[in-house]
């Protein structure tokens, strides 16, 4: 008796699911929407701003070439190296800026926490795949580019279940 009622209970629970909406996110047609413009850090208050830890963005007009991001990454992934740039900035006497190897980066965001000049943030861009290892190395010029991506899918919940609408 217990066996029969158990099977009926399980089947009943399964049949109810026919009416439930599909929860699967149909990537890449749909892309998840994230909070804010990516992870940022305010060195004055010492607290971060919530956001996705995706690809970095480097503000050339603020970077001083102090290497703190590179030092922060030393014990973690060693993904950041300082390279020479052909630009002249008043605050950057040595003309060096970070270059990030996304083959090594673990996206922990501790380099953003280390930057005292609001020069290095993270963005919502996470599609970084490349056919070669060299393609994963982002130069300061590439890091400067603001990502242009459309993300609008969010989890919606109603009586018929949750869905990525």
């Amino acid at each position: 008796m217990g066996t029969a009622s158990g099977i009926i209970k399980a089947l009943n629970s399964g049949i109810k699911h026919i009416a439930i909406k599909r929860f699967t996110l149909r990537y890449p047609e749909e892309k998840l929407k994230f909070v804010g413009d990516g992870y940022q850090f305010d060195p004055v208050s010492g607290v971060g701003v919530a956001g996705l830890k995706g690809r970095h963005i480097l503000f050339h007009d603020k970077c001083t070439g102090c290497q703190l991001c590179s030092i922060a990454c030393e014990g973690i992934a060693e993904a950041i190296s300082m390279v020479k740039v052909n630009e002249k900035w008043k605050q950057n006497k040595k003309s060096i800026m970070p270059q990030i190897d996304y083959g090594k980066c673990v996206f922990c965001g501790l380099c953003v926490d280390a930057c005292p000049f609001y020069a290095l943030y993270m963005t919502n861009d996470y599609e970084l795949s490349s056919f070669s290892k060299e393609g994963l190395i982002y130069t300061p010029a590439q890091l400067q580019v603001k990502p242009n991506i459309e993300q609008d899918a969010e989890i919606k919940i109603d009586d018929r279940g949750a869905t990525h609408g």
Binding site: G6, A10, G14, V47, A50, K53, I76, C108, I157, A162
Partner: protein, 376 residues
């Protein structure tokens, strides 16, 4: 340890006994090897052989300072990363003398409870698929997305959050996180209640797990089991209750125990814990201070004196402790990680003796064992 059927006698180790290596790359065991000796269909003895994915996390921790240790110390259990960083942060806060803001303590509790559910769902999915219940693989994997979405809003990463830091958390909760969290937790609770009808009252699951791999209460204590394995054997031990850390003593919850100590009880305790986690999260969101700092400002290279500390928390797999020794340098002198997975593995040879080989996944995965964490 269960009784053999009448007429079947376990023989001594001789030519009739076959040695079978399960793993270390076999999906039935995760990244570890179980050397099983079988007589026909019955297991005579079993020798778990962990260490295949040893990564030297403890040694690595001696070469990095207290902050840069964060991203690699969460690697042993990436889907329970908040809970493995929790004892480390508590310990470092003690030796550095940091006072964590009240709001950060509540955020930590919320994040670690969400993460415990994420881990448990992942484990439940594996448990389901190894018992041949593919629906139980699909449902938890889908529902896990609800919680991963919340953690991603909170910390900015889906799996390896690196969210806890000595002195608080990395960032404050985003705007209207509370509402989204309550909405998704309520729906999640409704969803996991359905697991009872499709999985836990399923007669096929019951026949495979009830009375297999029974761990008696006294054995559980003497073998040093922890977490869900200990509580399934009727010992009421939950670190959150017995040694409350952060704000767990302010929150309203209970620790679940079952008496039978078999695979079924061990698989049900984490599910009951998930329902309890939903209560804790809702309770914490009510009591959380509405504003305030979430992080103490740290010096770039913090140093501690000649001190040592041991802190433990309740992770998805039992009590997880970290013993940190400082000798005045920016790097810790020693970080010893004591994980629940390894302690529960010791029970395996006792549980599998005399069981059928086909019941091995039911017993092995019910131990809530995670090979990568045990090897560290």
């Amino acid at each position: 340890m269960s009784e053999l059927p009448p007429g079947i006698k376990l023989e001594k180790e001789d030519d009739k006994i076959m040695t079978l290596n399960v793993g270390p790359q076999h999906p039935g065991s995760g990244h570890m090897r179980i050397i099983v000796k079988i007589d026909g269909d019955y297991i005579v003895s079993c020798d778990p052989d962990p260490g295949y994915v040893h990564r030297g996390e403890e040694k690595m921790a001696e070469y990095r300072n207290y902050i840069t240790n964060i991203p690699h110390l969460e690697r042993p259990v990436i889907h329970d990363s908040c809970n493995i960083l929790y004892p480390y942060c508590l310990g470092v806060e003690e030796i550095l003398g940091l006072e964590v803001p009240e709001r950060a303590k509540y955020i930590r509790v919320i994040a670690s409870e969400l993460n415990r559910c994420v881990y448990t769902l992942y484990w439940l999915a594996i448990y389901g698929i190894f018992l041949g219940h593919s629906t139980m693989f699909m449902w938890p994997t889908g529902d896990r997305e609800l919680l991963i979405d919340l953690l991603e809003k909170l910390s900015g990463a889906r799996v390896t959050h690196a969210y806890f830091i000595p002195g608080g958390v990395r960032n404050d909760m985003p705007a209207n996180f509370e509402d989204v969290c309550i909405r998704q937790i309520n729906y999640f609770e409704k969803r996991i209640k359905q697991y009872d009808s499709i999985f836990y009252s399923n007669p096929i699951l019951k026949s495979r797990t009830i009375k297999t791999g029974v761990l008696a209460q006294q054995d559980a204590i003497s073998l040093g089991a922890t977490g869900s394995v200990l509580r399934a054997s009727g010992v009421d031990f939950d670190v959150r209750k017995k040694e409350p850390y952060d704000v767990y003593d302010n929150l309203d919850f209970q620790s679940n125990t079952l008496k039978s100590g078999d695979s079924y009880a061990r698989s049900k305790i984490p599910w009951l814990d998930m329902l309890e986690s939903c209560r804790i999260i809702r309770n914490a969101l009510e009591k959380i201070p509405k504003s305030g700092s979430v992080r103490v400002k740290l010096k770039p290279n913090p140093k501690a004196g000649n001190v040592e500390t041991y802190k433990r928390v309740e992770s998805g797999r039992g009590s997880l402790g970290m013993y940190i020794i400082s000798n005045g340098k920016p790097e810790p002198y020693r970080v010893k990680i004591s994980v629940g997975s390894f302690r529960n593995l010791i029970c395996l040879p006792y549980l599998l003796k005399g069981e059928k080989l086909g019941n091995m996944p039911a017993v092995y995965w019910s131990l809530n064992y995670w090979p990568v964490e045990a090897d560290r």
